[in-house]
């Protein structure tokens, strides 16, 4: 029961990924803040944007960061096609342009609230929200750059089945990021899977009495066994552990797609335990990345047929990952690694400027 004993909760919920009764104890607030810093793309906090409300194809109201309501005539929107939106955003000189048909937010609320079920878990409920957003994408709601295109066509059941397939029950998932100077745990999270879903979330604070953060961080590669033993004693047997140097983590966020492999090779990131599927995914992803990079670098020097062969090699590696029945993400219906590569563009240049990932002239946009 949430937050303590007793309670009237029935067990009508379909336990999928996250228990509605999830226990969250020994949370280290500093670590929570650090995760936010590590995961939120830089510059997303205060980007420049315009929201234009349209009615019968005409901008009837517009607001702009720092200025409030502005003259609708200053929004040079000639249509809601991709090119027209991109052109309007460039002309406005903002990182984001949101176009909303008057009444679209009401339709969005309706779609969301008709899709939500009390018997679903929280991630599934969010899938209903995303599904509603996908439905209205281009049909009353437009965002440029095309953020909404990144929403994967994910359904609840494949997500739950993939989770069950990849994460053993009665096990713990760990992620640690370390600071070098001064040595300390920068961020940590330990999630415990019980009864098929995440039932407890905690941080290193739950182990710190036996292994203080600074002590662990000073020689973290040598102390991983100790961490795993403590997690097994106090929570559950670890099934996946990620331990990373903070700088390496940041290099992965902004680096090329094989950066993870490099950091693993250099020992700046350690996966322990790393289940077979994870090793397979990483091996396949590295191969695909290597082939893609090779294709790009070869392009300037080799004839077209050879370029096509190199590109084909990369593509076939990715296809093999996707189509092989053994591929761990096969059930999802989309490739999360490919999605990550699209999202990654938002970590690179500052998003707050017109030349950010949303601008029409940057490499990241071409990538998308």
């Amino acid at each position: 029961m949430t937050g303590g004993p007793g309670g009237s909760r029935s067990r009508l919920f379909f336990d999928l990924v996250l228990s509605p009764d999830v226990e969250m104890v020994d949370l280290d607030g500093r670590h929570l803040a650090s995760w936010l810093g590590l995961l939120v793309p830089p510059g997303l906090g205060e980007p420049s944007w315009v929201i234009a409300f349209v009615e019968a194809g005409r901008v009837v109201h517009a607001v702009r960061t720092g200025q409030g309501a502005v003259d609708p005539a200053t929004v040079p929107l000639t249509g809601t096609g991709a090119a027209e939106l991109a052109s309007a955003r460039r002309a406005l000189g903002v990182a984001f342009l949101v176009v909303l048909e008057v009444g679209a937010l009401g339709r969005l609320h309706t779609a969301i609230e008709r899709g939500l079920r009390l018997d679903d878990d929280y991630p599934t409920q969010w899938l209903a929200v995303l599904r509603a957003l996908r439905e209205l994408r281009g049909a009353g709601i437009w965002v440029e750059p095309r953020f909404l295109d990144l929403i994967p066509p994910l359904a609840a059941e494949p997500l739950a089945r993939t989770f069950e397939l990849l994460v053993p029950d009665h096990s713990a998932l760990l992620a640690y990021v370390f600071d070098a100077q001064p040595a300390d745990v920068h961020a940590s999270v330990i999630a415990v899977v019980e009864g098929g879903d995440i039932a407890r979330v905690t941080t290193h604070l739950s182990l710190a009495d036996a292994l203080p953060g600074p002590v662990l961080a000073r020689r973290w590669r040598d102390q991983i066994d100790r961490v795993l033993t403590l997690v097994a004693e106090r929570h559950a047997d670890p099934s996946i552990g990620v331990f990373a140097d903070r700088e390496a983590w940041q290099r992965i966020l902004v680096g090329p797609s094989d950066q993870l492999g490099r950091e693993l090779s250099a020992g700046n990131i350690v996966l322990d335990p790393a289940p077979a599927w994870l090793r397979g995914v990483l091996g396949g992803a590295q191969l695909a990345a290597f082939a893609t990079r090779s294709a790009r670098s070869l392009a300037r020097f080799v004839p077209g047929s050879a370029r096509r062969a190199a590109s084909g090699l990369a593509q076939s590696a990715q296809d093999r990952l996707r189509s092989a029945g053994a591929h761990p993400f096969a059930l999802l219906g989309f490739d999360p690694i490919a999605l990550w590569h699209q999202v990654q563009a938002y970590y690179r240049p500052p998003v707050g400027s017109a030349s950010g990932p949303g601008s029409g002239s940057t490499r990241s946009r071409k990538t998308r």
Partner: protein
């Protein structure tokens, strides 16, 4: 305010007993959740709380945790509230209980039993004829309708069961001295005009309020008055909801205890402390879950609470640590925000959480009763506040900037972002500039009105004139503490406010208004015979909006800047905004404390002009301040000093 024989809340805090036997207790409370702790740890946690300097512990009492089946309540083990109250008494502490029915407390479904959120008859209805979902982690749920007869009956039964258990523990027989009526009652933060509540029982409430009019389901410029009335009805709905919770508690035998309510951490226009206070028969305060960088928001709400919270301004929840799903707050954030809340004039606070628990981080006492780093700061703060007699002090402040809703209701009623809640669009609105979320309104007047309100605040700060933010509906006693009222007006004004300003002017108070002479009321109807200006009213000039220095000079002339205590930056430190000074006096008019605030995101050095012979000590550390002309203020910091 009605009297409560066993306890009541007065201007300094709790008053226990009555007549000559009455004694006062500062309302500084420590939140601790008994049901989330092992009963074996209760004594240690209570002892740690007492060591920090608290005299009162407060706890939610969760309906959804105690109820095991319809009508069956579990009071055993960690849920044994009577046993916990015995421990509280043994520890020499007092207790404040908060039985909801809404409690949140980061519980799944905000502490409502699952059968309640599942029952369509109890669910609030949207204008789109759907349930109204609360997207709170770790599980979204349909919120109940506080108008629903079924929900009211179910909640009243719970409150009776609760009251029966705690009746023997009421002061003076036991430690229970007060209770909180519900929690953050604000239609579950969903205040979009045409979002909810369209439950049949809610529509019956609307008809009682507005007559035979249909409830509007979208903005209609041709029927703007009905739309604005619908937005105003939500304030009525909230007060009525609080009223029936109060009645249920009184009816269950708790009428003799002090009670209060906590409004959520929203801008003043979205909470209405006076209406809630009247509904429950006790003070209504505000909650604060902010970071130091939210300096402007904290200051605005603290100035509103300090002036409007009556008879005692209570910061009902001030985050010590926080829930994992709000933007993370550091220990420094808590220090600065607490300072900011006190600088606005709060005289009571609940520190939330003092003892750690599930779905929380950063509490100063562990679940086993061990003290952790914020404990030292908290203990120092409580010592310092008591040493200066904080609850007897009053913020020196003649001027009141009036908070009115005549325009802001039209912003909500005509928002293009509807049904998105203004609670959400106000967060978005921080990036939009001084008009905030009003920029999303079809009606341009509310945005302009907000610019005038912001300009008046900026000009008063620039002029060094201390001011309060006073609700147009605040108690008469709260109005009587000021002698100059600044009420920016355009074409519309709230008719009752207009009468009030005229009455204040008749009593000799100064009234500054404008730039326009209002000719229409809060529903856009002609003021008619009411249009007469308050006597000797000063009118702000239309050009002042873009001439803050000129407006500052005008307001300083009207209000008079403080002459004996002033705060400035050294000449080599130019900045966009002036530093802020609050001066606190005891009942004899002696200055006993000051608060210094830096609104800028970079450190500042303050130069304090004080009367000769004044010496200052840091209120928390007790360290003397050696140089009044070089006081270091970190970015977004608020420092409190005792004055000797």
């Amino acid at each position: 305010m009605e009297a409560h024989r066993r306890s009541q809340l007065g201007p300094r805090g709790l008053i226990l007993g009555a007549g000559t036997a009455a004694r006062e207790v500062d309302f500084f409370t420590a939140e601790l959740h008994y049901w989330r702790l092992d009963p074996a740890d209760w004594p240690r946690c209570l002892a740690a709380t007492k060591r920090l300097g608290f005299e009162i512990v407060s706890t939610y009492v969760p309906w959804g945790v105690h109820e095991t089946a319809r009508g069956a309540l579990d009071w055993s083990g960690p849920l044994d509230l009577p046993a916990f109250l015995d421990e509280v008494a043994r520890a020499g502490l007092l207790a404040v209980l908060k039985p909801g029915p809404h409690i949140n407390a980061e519980l799944t479904h905000f502490g409502f039993p699952e059968r309640v959120v599942r029952d369509p008859a109890m669910q609030a209805r949207s204008a789109r004829d759907t349930p109204v979902w609360m997207p709170a982690p770790p599980h979204m749920f349909p919120v109940p309708s506080y108008a629903s007869r079924g929900f009211r009956d179910a909640a009243a039964a719970w409150l009776r069961g609760f009251a029966e258990r705690i009746a023997p523990h009421r002061f003076p027989d036991g430690p229970v001295v007060a209770f909180q009526v519900d929690n953050e009652t604000q239609m579950f933060f969903r205040l979009g005009a045409y979002d909810h509540d369209y439950h049949p029982d809610a529509l019956a409430w609307w008809r009682e309020h507005a007559g035979d009019l249909d409830a509007p389901r979208a903005w209609d410029p041709a029927d703007a008055a009905r739309c604005a009335e619908w937005v105003r009805f939500k304030e009525v709905y909230t007060a009525r909801a609080l009223g029936w919770v109060r009645d249920a508690l009184d009816g269950a035998g708790l009428a003799e205890l002090a009670r209060y309510h906590n409004a959520p951490p929203s801008p003043p226009e979205l909470v209405k402390l006076p209406a809630a206070a009247r509904a429950i028969g006790g003070p209504t305060g505000l909650d604060f879950y902010h970071r130091a960088r939210d300096y402007g928001d904290v200051r605005q709400r603290a100035l509103y609470l300090g002036a409007t919270g009556w008879p005692v301004p209570l910061a009902c929840e001030v985050g010590v640590g926080g829930p994992p799903w709000l933007p993370p707050m550091t220990a420094d954030d808590q220090v600065q925000v607490t300072g900011g809340v006190l600088a606005g004039g709060a005289r009571g606070m609940c520190f939330f959480m003092v003892v750690d628990r599930d779905r929380w981080y950063g509490a100063p006492v562990s679940t086993a009763g061990e003290e952790r780093p914020p404990a030292e700061w908290l203990a120092g703060l409580l010592r310092g506040l008591r040493a200066v007699g904080w609850t007897s002090l009053r913020r020196r402040c003649r001027a009141a900037l009036v908070v009115s809703r005549a325009e802001s209701r039209f912003a909500i009623a005509s928002s293009l972002a509807d049904p998105l809640s203004p609670v959400v669009t106000e967060i978005l609105g921080r990036q939009l500039g001084p008009t905030g979320a009003a920029a999303l309104a079809r009606d341009p007047a509310p945005g302009l009105h907000r610019r005038w309100q912001a300009a008046a605040m900026a000009a008063l700060d620039r002029a060094g004139v201390p001011y309060a933010l006073l609700d147009e509906e605040a108690e008469e006693g709260a109005w009587a503490e000021h002698s100059i009222f600044i009420a920016p007006t355009l074409a519309r004004v709230d008719r009752a406010l207009w009468h009030r300003l005229r009455a204040a002017a008749e009593r000799g108070a100064q009234v500054v208004m404008g730039p326009e002479r209002p000719l229409r009321d809060e529903l856009d109807r002609p003021l008619g015979d009411d249009a007469r200006l308050p006597r000797h009213a000063g009118l702000m000039r239309a050009g002042s909006l873009d001439d803050l220095d000129g407006l500052a000079r005008d307001l300083a002339t009207a209000a008079g800047a403080d002459t004996d205590w002033r705060l400035a930056r050294p000449p080599d430190q130019p900045a966009d905004q002036p530093l802020h000074l609050s001066v606190f006096e005891d009942p004899d008019g002696r200055v006993r404390a000051v608060a210094l605030g830096n609104p800028e995101p970079r450190p500042a050095r303050a130069h304090l002009h004080a009367p000769a012979g004044a010496s200052l000590r840091d209120l928390v550390t007790d360290h003397p301040l050696r140089d009044l002309h070089a006081i270091e203020l970190a970015a977004h910091a608020v420092r409190l000093f005792a004055v000797d």
